[in-house]
Amino acid sequence: MGTPEDKIAQMGLELPPLQQPVANYVSAVQTGNLLFLSGAGPAVPRGDNMLTGKLGRDLSVDEGYEAARSVGLVQIARLKNELGELSRVGRIVKLLAMVNSTPDFTDHPTVINGCSDLLVEVFGDAGRHARSAVGMANLPFGIPVEIEIIVEVVD
């Protein structure tokens, strides 16, 4: 069995560069064995603009799924930075997944599977998590998805 890093390479994925928090907070706080990650948006490709848009109006569910998958990579990059080795992830515990969406949008679970599927692909059973998926009236900078994560860490 390879490491999560091996798995990411096998999948042809690359962890995005770390982004600094946009205000007076930090990306991650560990207390005991629990690591709390701040909400993150999709990765911003080098030289490109931030992905923006509202589900039910500007973006399709498929595009939302890809955005959620990108958020997952951003959070895995944060975990790599915090923990050194991704094998120190004992369990992905809980996601709070926020979808920028119109009032009549109902397909949040399909969008957020973009992140959930990635976490299970990379971490296997340790990636199977509890989650809440909800629709927000708006999100910072107009990003389509923001996800915060609680992780159990092992030494």
Binding site: G32, R91, H108, S116, V134, M136, A137
Partner: protein, 155 residues
């Protein structure tokens, strides 16, 4: 049957079977190293199993959504029973997040969320007294009127 489940029955409620996730996630994650169980967001169901839909301030009353919040809590207790075997193992309800599907000008979120809080205190007594946030969402999966997630301490 444990004392807590007896109490639930004597109050005239029933603990349903564990919820089935609608997407790629699990209903509960037990972090044994921290003595905490994190639950997914649970949604309310009608007697026929369909989603209990509605948007506060548009097409569902506070009184009805209060009952839907109770329904979410009972669903969570079903998932916790499945995780723990016995609800008597819950030593404290730590934190409740109540996510209310509501119109932009809706302000009575606390009254809706009390459906969850009142029932938890009725069932668990002092152990059921919890920290809580109640907020308005512009949309929720399947247009359910409320979604509730919890963190509980267990022995």
């Amino acid at each position: 049957m444990g004392a807590i489940e007896d109490r639930i029955k004597s109050l005239g409620y029933m603990v349903p079977d564990a919820a089935t996730p609608v997407a790629n996630y699990v209903t509960t994650v037990h972090v044994k190293s921290a003595g905490l169980v994190f639950t997914s967001g649970h949604v309310p169901r009608n007697a026929d199993g369909s989603f209990w839909a509605g948007k506060l301030g548009v097409d569902i009353s506070v009184d009805e959504a209060y009952k839907a919040a109770q329904n979410c809590v009972l669903g969570i207790l079903g998932s916790l029973k499945n995780e723990l075997g016995d609800l008597d193992r819950v030593t404290r309800v730590v934190k409740v997040l109540c996510l209310v599907n509501s119109a932009p000008d809706f302000t009575d979120h606390p009254l809706v969320a009390n459906g969850a809080s009142d029932l938890l205190v009725e069932i668990f007594g002092d152990k059921g007294k919890h920290a809580r946030s109640a907020v308005g969402l512009s949309s929720l999966p399947g247009n359910v009127c409320i979604e509730v997630e919890m963190v509980v301490e267990v022995s």
